[in-house]
Amino acid sequence: MQFVADIRKNIAETIYQIDRVTVIAQVTLFMFVVFGPSFWFTVPIYQGALLLSLVFPKVVKTSYLWIVITTVTALALFSEWHSVDNHKWLMLYWGLAFVVATVVSRGDTDALHVFLKKNAWFMLIFIMGLSVVQKILGGAYLSGAFFEFTLLTDQRFFIITHYLGGLPAKDFFLNAEMFLQYPRAEFTLFLTQRVTLIAFVMTYALLLIEILIPVFLLIQKKSYQNFAHLLNGLFIAVVYLIAPVYAFGFLLAVLGIACLSSDSRKLFLMYILLMLVIFLYKVPWFSLYYYFTIGV
């Protein structure tokens, strides 16, 4: 047991001794490699940059690297900007934050860290705050309509609707079919009371977390900031277990790490673990389950 404890201690010590800015930059580049826009001109550049950062860590503190990363990302997103997913916009902003930070800090690691920390802090508040604003402006969220409708029609939520909501699989797929047929003015979806209840809980649980994270981040006391990070961790762990938008979850973890002070060791470790958890979520567990149980 002592042996295991020693290994754990050594790993923890090694992680904590790594320069925080280097870690933030490397996980950012990893995020671009795995979740960034996939074009013939972006992929080799992202991969090359990550490799470079691993071999020569100091390179992440130069602006040239981030100018290249941000320029290719902007070029990739430019032609289809209106249909690009929000997390890709955020990756572009985060790349830009690195460009400005490296230019302004001029090699001063502490200044670079402070700059990135402030930008990440703003971005987390912006993401959560604006998603609350959009939910209110959209008009279909607060009544519970959005989640009830989504649970009944979005294939990504099939597992919840079927197993927790009790909606027969046949009804679920007939719901989806209604949108593929040439449109009728009105129709009625198959529904269970349990789905309505789950939708209500999901609606207000998500809204509450999205309100609390920016509120606690705005309060400049360490305990509140820490609580905001714990909520952010909870958000990543739960939301991306259900909604498979893994890139967004990973980005929230990267911003979370960037937002921490150098002495926040446990939260740092929490975000690293969450990044690994996101990759566990990516495993197609249900396909595997069905493969071994009913042979498909």
């Binding site: 997913d85 830009l96 971005m123 604006l130 409708f149 198959f190």
Partner: protein
């Protein structure tokens, strides 16, 4: 203070300022140009029923089957329904593709799913991809038609009632 001084002083506001500008632009486009609230960099994901917009191409009352190679144009039109997006889809379709005379593009697999007896069979059908493939209709070259985009107008909580509305349409003549 020189340019470098101003840059250093206001640099912290560069990214937040840009994010706010993109958000304002997105709000404008959602309000006046029917952009989907989920898109455009405004953090509107999981906020509205916009995700279920559906673009249809029809000819003489029959729906045209759009192959996967054209889905990028279809999705582009659903996200930002306007004449330019519709023209892009039409240009890709015109003269080169064929339409399903039956008018129910996905009827084959879903009719099969509807006929299946229980949940296990449904899951088997869902996870066994070839079941979802179809194409048993007769195809005819497309010359003229109409492109429409429908969106969910209202959804009634607790009853499952959905009403749809047409948010865009454009007619293309056969010439």
């Amino acid at each position: 203070m020189g340019i470098r001084g101003y840059f250093k002083k206001y640099s912290l506001w560069f990214v937040p300022g840009l994010m706010i500008l993109v958000f304002i632009n997105q709000l404008f486009m959602v309000s006046f140009l029917d952009l989907s609230r989920w898109k455009g960099g405004g953090m509107g994901m999981f906020s509205t029923l916009d995700d279920k917009r559906t673009a249809f191409v029809s000819h003489g009352g029959s729906a045209v089957y759009l192959p996967e190679s054209l889905f990028q144009y279809k999705v582009g039109l659903e996200i930002l329904p306007n004449a330019k997006s519709a023209d892009r889809l039409w240009s890709a379709l015109k003269g080169t593709l064929y339409f399903n005379e039956h008018g129910f593009p996905f009827s084959e697999p879903f009719l099969r799913i509807a006929d299946l007896p229980d949940s296990i069979e449904i899951i088997r059908a869902l996870y066994k991809q070839p079941t979802l493939e179809f194409i048993k209709a007769n195809y005819t070259s497309i010359k003229g038609g109409i492109i429409e985009v429908y969106a969910v107008n209202t959804y009634e909580v607790g009853s499952g009632r959905v009403s749809m509305k047409r948010i865009f349409s454009k007619l293309y003549s056969s010439e």
